[in-house]
């Protein structure tokens, strides 16, 4: 009888430990955007549409020492005429607390579909960039940034 009860308590302990580690995973999942969250943010914009590759030049550092200030330059290949131009560019981060980073709206008056800014990255992660052309075609590219010190504070 004594053996059985200790067996139970050990099982309970294991079960508790299991729940505890599960809770940690859930909490971590809540703190950071996941590839799924990025995918749903993209689906919200463009539904189930297909993305081509190429056209986008996403310039991010391979290694960012300071996650607080990570330069990001995006350029999309386009003649930028009234008939054929880049309409929008969206940038997403898979490992930040929130999936969105920045969205740009270009016009033919830009002459060149280029924009540069600086972003915060909480950890090493993939940056996803999508471009929407004036004819409705979509392009996507991805680049990993290794972050030495996270940039999202407490």
């Amino acid at each position: 009888m004594h053996v059985v009860s200790s067996e139970y308590s050990r099982r309970d302990a294991l079960r508790l430990a299991g729940f505890a580690s599960l809770a940690v995973i859930v909490a971590a999942g809540r703190a950071d955007a996941t590839p799924d969250e990025v995918a749903s943010a993209i689906a919200k914009l463009y539904g189930e549409k297909k993305f081509g590759s190429g056209k986008i030049k996403l310039d991010v550092p391979e290694i960012a020492e300071n996650g607080l200030v990570v330069p990001i330059n995006v350029e999309v290949e386009s003649p930028m005429t009234d008939a054929d131009y880049v309409k929008a560019v969206h940038v997403f981060a898979e490992g930040n607390p929130l999936p969105n980073v920045v969205s740009y709206k270009f016009t033919p008056a830009c002459g060149k579909a280029f924009a540069a800014t600086r972003m915060r990255l909480a950890q090493t992660q993939d940056i996803i960039c999508i471009a929407e052309m004036s004819n409705g075609s979509l392009y996507m590219t991805k680049s990993q940034v290794k972050v030495t010190i996270g940039g999202c504070g407490g």
Binding site: L68, P97, L98, N100, K105, C110, A116, C152
Partner: protein, 107 residues
């Protein structure tokens, strides 16, 4: 706190020349993710939109999310065709707007 934005735009350009516009504004860009010493979340307060107009026509717009760094920098290009004035507007979460105006002569 946001202060006077800093903008670099060439004062003169040749017709058809593609010029770069560089902007920088002082702002904490409080992400809404940080906690203060007592563990309370510091509310989000960022500049959420940057709009560039030339002669009152929108030429470029950026929607910034909390992942944009403090003192946000933004650069973009513009194809000079006529003389006129740039109006750059930064919109804060609290509703305030910071505006910079720059004239450019084309010829």
């Amino acid at each position: 706190m946001a202060s006077q934005p800093r903008v670099r735009i060439p004062a003169q350009a040749k017709p058809g020349e593609i010029i770069e516009i560089k902007t920088l504004i002082s702002h904490d860009m409080e992400s809404g993710q940080r906690k203060d010493a007592s563990g309370k979340t510091i509310p989000r307060k960022i500049i959420n939109t940057f709009t560039a107009k030339f002669n009152d026509k929108v030429i470029f717009e950026a929607t910034w999310h909390p992942a944009i760094s403090a003192n946000p920098y933004q650069s973009f290009f513009y194809k000079a065709t006529e003389s006129g004035e740039f109006t750059l507007v930064w919109k804060d979460d609290d509703g305030s707007e910071y505006v910079a105006k720059n004239k450019m002569t084309v010829g």
